[in-house]
Every structure is written in C-alpha cells, then in structure tokens.
Symmetry: C2
Subunit: 360 residues, 2 copies
C-alpha cells in the first residue's frame, strides 16, 4: 500500500531580497522570476503528477491567500489555509497538519516551501515519493539534505550517518545525528571536508499522527495548542483558531521539533535545488548570451558582460558595464553590483526608515 500524501506549501514568506520586483504584498513566491510562471505555480505544477489537487494545500496570511486564489484556481478554496497571525513555521505547520489529520490521521504531510527552485522535478517526485513511504511505514520524521556546493554560512546543516543507509522505495535513507544552525565560515569548511553534512532544505515529511506524538513528546509547550487547533479545524471555528494564534509562541519547526526529535531520516535532495536567495542566483538560472548577460527583456550590450537584467517591457542598453544587476519595475529601478545583492534588503530598510510606503 502506498502512502496517502498531502502537500503543504508554506506560502507565507515575505522577503525583501528581490526588491523592487518583490514588495510587501508581492513576495518572491508570487513572482515569475525563474520562468513565465510564478514560483508558487511552479511549486504546485511539479507536485501535480504525484499529488491530487485536493490533497495540495497552502498556508499563508489572509492577504496572500487572496493572491493564491487567483494564481491557483484548480485547488479547492478550502485548501488555501489562512494563518490568523504570522508565528513562524511551527504554528503554520501544526495548523496544516491538523487540517490533514482531521481528514486522515495516517496521511503523510510533505511540508514544502513555495519559493524554491527544483531543476529536476521528476527526480524530486521520486525522492518525495520515497520520503512519503519512509514517513508512512516507519515512525520517523523525514527530510531532504541538499549536497552543498560551497561552505555556505547562510544555510543550516544536517549532520548524518554516512554508513549503512536504509533503502526505502529504492532510495537510501540516512540516520540524522543532528541539525546544525548556520555555521561560522571555518566550521562550514570543516563540514564540507567531513562529507557527512548536507544543507537543510527546509522540506520535511511526517505522518500526521506521528507528528502529533512527536510534538507531545518533544514540544510539550506547543502540544496544548495542537489539541486546540485540531478542535478548531474540526469545528471550522475561525474565532477559536485566532485565539490559538494570539497565544502560541512564534517558533520555527526546526527549533521546535526537528532538532529535538530522534530517529529523523534523511535522503539526499539531488534534484537541482536552489532557494533562489537573491537576484544574483538568477544569473545561474536564466539563459545567458555569449557575453554572459542574462536578461528578461530586450537588451543591447556594447562591451558589457555578465549582467543580469529584468526589464520585460523596455529596451535596455548596456555600455561598458559588467557584473551589474539592473531591475526595472513600474515605479522603481535598481542598479546594483552583482556581488552586493545581499544589500538589496538594506534598500528596503532604508525606504522603511524614511517612512516611504510607496516603494516597499
């Protein structure tokens, strides 16, 4: 018997690193930056061959859910779950899992970010299917570890047991020793040298009833909220749910559960993953011309190379420049040195400080 699989897409993020295209009301998951579709549409599309539409749900705030309704008309409206307040990932995933539990306590939940790129969707589905089987058959929490390509200090790491992986549905699953928070650079270098550390993808699988048991054991402070959520979901009481979210602490699922649970299994997420963290990451994703320029929109480059341009409605002429990010929207223009794209969020902070709401 194969596992009944539900996909919970965490669509509540509100990044600022894709300013000026991303705005408070139009975060990264709602942008068509990796293809002509928005990232949330891509995320749903890649699940569809494996997961029925009525088993795909999203979790986001009310404003975002209004956008989701338009972008994802094929999902039942009741599958677009609204979190009454932003309380980080643990409360979100408790709510979504309670919703699944209410339908089928033995169903497997795959908790997936809405704004990651998966280069090889077929491989992703293969891994997801195997992960679901692992979570279904055993009482384990399951996660994907991303093979690191450089000693990143921006991701958490998963320390795993290299020896004796277990094969489930044709994929090797490793025992997780520990989740490690974002390391210092020297530590990250050691992690890569040791070869038993992969990046934490932020993707998790669990059976709904197993999730409840693990929560009771490892997060006793949160467990009473789980019970109240279950009741609110069964009674469809928005008021009761709002009360829970007023009181529940804001905490990530990593910190609340994954880091504490024993017996977590991990399989390698070798499916071309990128979290598309900032503009420069698109330079590796968009097709590039001979001069290394990647553009969404018409460009004319004279002695210009390795630039990233988003300006779909106008001609962009680049003369003598290199390694620039040029992003144009209806009301703002960004010109940024490619290696400084992490500072784009500082632009948003500066705008907020000025009290400007117009461009934020």
């Amino acid at each position: 018997m194969s596992a009944p699989l539900y996909a919970v897409i965490m669509a509540g993020g509100s990044g600022t690193r894709f300013w000026p295209l991303s705005r408070a009301r139009r975060p990264k998951q709602f942008l068509p930056i990796v293809s002509r579709k928005t990232m949330i549409e891509e995320t749903v599309d890649r699940l569809r061959p494996l997961v029925r539409a009525d088993r795909i749900c999203t979790i986001a705030n009310g404003d975002q859910t209004r956008v989701l309704r338009k972008l994802l008309p094929r999902l039942p409206r009741t599958n677009l779950l609204v979190e009454p307040a932003g309380r980080n990932t643990a409360p979100s995933l408790m709510l979504a899992t309670a919703w699944v539990f209410n339908r089928n306590p033995k169903a497997v939940v795959a908790a997936l970010p809405a704004d990651h790129l998966i280069g090889d969707p077929a491989r992703f589905r293969e891994k997801l299917k195997a992960g679901a089987e692992a979570a279904f058959r055993e009482d384990h929490l399951v996660t994907f570890g991303i093979p690191p390509t450089f000693p990143s200090t921006g991701y958490g790491y998963i320390h795993f047991e290299k020896e004796d992986p277990r094969e489930i549905a044709g994929q090797p699953f490793h025992k997780v020793h520990a989740f490690k928070e974002k390391p210092a650079y020297d530590q990250a270098v050691r992690f890569l040298a040791e070869g038993s550390y992969l990046w934490n993808s932020g993707m998790f699988l669990w059976r709904a009833d197993v999730f409840a048991r693990k929560l009771e054991r490892h997060a006793p402070d949160l467990f009473p909220f789980w019970t109240r959520m279950l009741k609110a979901v069964a009674q469809k009481s928005g008021t009761a749910l709002a009360a829970v979210f007023r009181e529940i602490p804001s905490i990530s699922i990593d910190y609340a559960l994954m880091e504490k649970a024993e017996g977590v299994l991990m399989t390698e997420g070798d499916f071309g993953w990128s979290d598309v963290g900032a503009w420069s990451s698109l330079a590796d994703i968009w097709p590039r011309g001979a001069d290394g320029n990647a553009a969404n929109g018409e460009i004319l480059a004279l002695e210009a190379r390795d630039c990233l341009v988003y300006n779909p409605r106008k001609l962009t002429a680049l003369v003598g420049v290199k390694d620039l990010i040029v992003i144009e929207t209806e009301d703002a223009l960004l010109v940024c040195r490619k290696d400084l794209d992490q500072k784009v969020k500082d632009v948003v902070d500066a705008l907020k400080k000025k009290g400007t709401k117009e461009y934020v």
Copy 2:
C-alpha cells in the same frame, strides 16, 4: 547709434548622444536636460533682455519647426524659418541672413546654436552686445573664442593675435589669424601651451550686407544661391527656395566662409560656455549630492557615488556602483560607464543597423 541686432538660432541639429532621451524627432535642443526648460527655450530666454522677440528667428527643418511653434509661442510664426532640406550650416545661415537682409541690410546677425549652455547669461549678453557693435561699425566678421580647459580633440580652434586687442563697447577684440580644424592630441597640447588658441564656439556675428560682400569674395560658388535666396525670400516663394536647396552644396559656414575671410575679429567667450556634448557633461552641470551623485528624479544611494541619473518619474536605487550613467525613458533604459558615454551614439547606430525604428 547702437546696432540693430537680429538673433538667428540654428535649431536644426539631430544628435544621438543623448539617447535614449534624444530621438530622431526629439534632438537635444528640445530636451529639458540642463534645467526644467528645453535648451531652445533657455537659448531664447537669455537673448530676450537684449533682442526683441520679432528680431529672434530660428532655422530648422519642417518637423522641427512644428515643435518650435509649440515651444516658442512668443516668437512671430514668420520668424520660424524652414530650410527645405538639410545642407549644413552655410546654406542655413545664408537663408536666415537673407531674411534679415530683406528687412534691413545694415542689421547685424548673431548666428547662435540652439543647444549650448551659457552659465553666465548677463556676461553673454554683454559680449553679444559688444560683438554686435564690432560687426556693425567695422566690416568685420566677429566670433567668440572659448577659453579651453583641456586639450580637446573634439573642437576646432581659433588662432588669434594676443597683442594689441582693440576695445569695442568695452570689450577687447583680437585679430584672428586662422581657424584650425579639430587637432590631433599633441597639437591640441601645443595650442594650449602657446596660449593664443581658443575653442571655436560656433557663434558668429556679421552685418547682413557685409556677409553678402564676404560671400561674393570668398565663396563665389555659393554667391549665386545667395542672390536666388534673397529673391525667393522677398517673393515669399517656397518653391524657389526649395529649388535653391536642391542644388546648393552641403557645406559648413566655417569651411565656406569663416576660414577664408580675412579681418575676422574675436573676443573671449568667458560666459560659462558648454556645448553639453554628452551625458557625462551634465555631471558638471546638475547639482551633486555629498556622494557625488547627480540626479533628475528621486535616488537612494547605498555605497554608490559619482553617478548621473535621469529618471524623473521613478525611484532609482543605486547599490555599490560608481561612475555610471543611468537614463530611463518611457521605452528604453541606458546603463553606461561614465567615461564611455561617447559610445551612446554607437547604440543608436546598432539599433539602426538592426532595422529597429522603434527606439531611434
């Protein structure tokens, strides 16, 4: 008696160096790049305290004259002279001078470009008045020499006699030895070292009847066309004028007359002149912030300096960049290294080659 002065504004230029703001139908003189007014409006405004509106005329092609009608509603419509075809400056100025001659052969014509910046308009009028007196009293052609600030290879030079200037209307006038075409760099350096070379401003004064005599003597090939122009102007015959412009050679006034005439007088054009030759020249004209950025439009600069931004309707955020020119218009965006702004015309050439009329 003071000289009856007519100003002829040469408004027929069609530069490409201010692309994407300048277009085939919107050349530099029609752009508000040095102030909130267009350069042609600035040019007329600075003349008005000295020259009556009915003595200011423009010379341009038919399309440009339609624009001029809107920009210069205070000038009599008959003062907006139309050249039937583009034949460089000599035929243009012959036509305009014929128009003045027809009104008053003893009037002085000041031939002035429409797209130069004059930093000190009061000083300019002082010099213009003196120049008009010099042209009126004596049978001389008169010009202004611009004190060079660097050994430019982009301007022509005027070699003048430093000793024994003549004072006319309070200003020293020097005898011109020769007009020199754009020099090689080494020659330009020698010109500056010698101190008896100024830049050719392209501004000239002559009495209409003196112009006719000089033309007859030094440009006998052109003189028959002058006679025909005079007749066409007197008869207000567009057909006759069109016939003249079909046959007349295309030649500059410098080459046709100024370089050949003897007894040309020059006074120093020390009135803050700039021909505003390309985008980077505006970096010295627009006010700059503490970080050296000059902008038309709102900017937010993070570790960015010495950029020039034209983007009046949007916010422009600059991150980590320096010495860039960023110009945004309704349908095009230019990002150009400041020291390569001479290549902007290559962008226009490249667009023409592609057969694109849209952005040209």
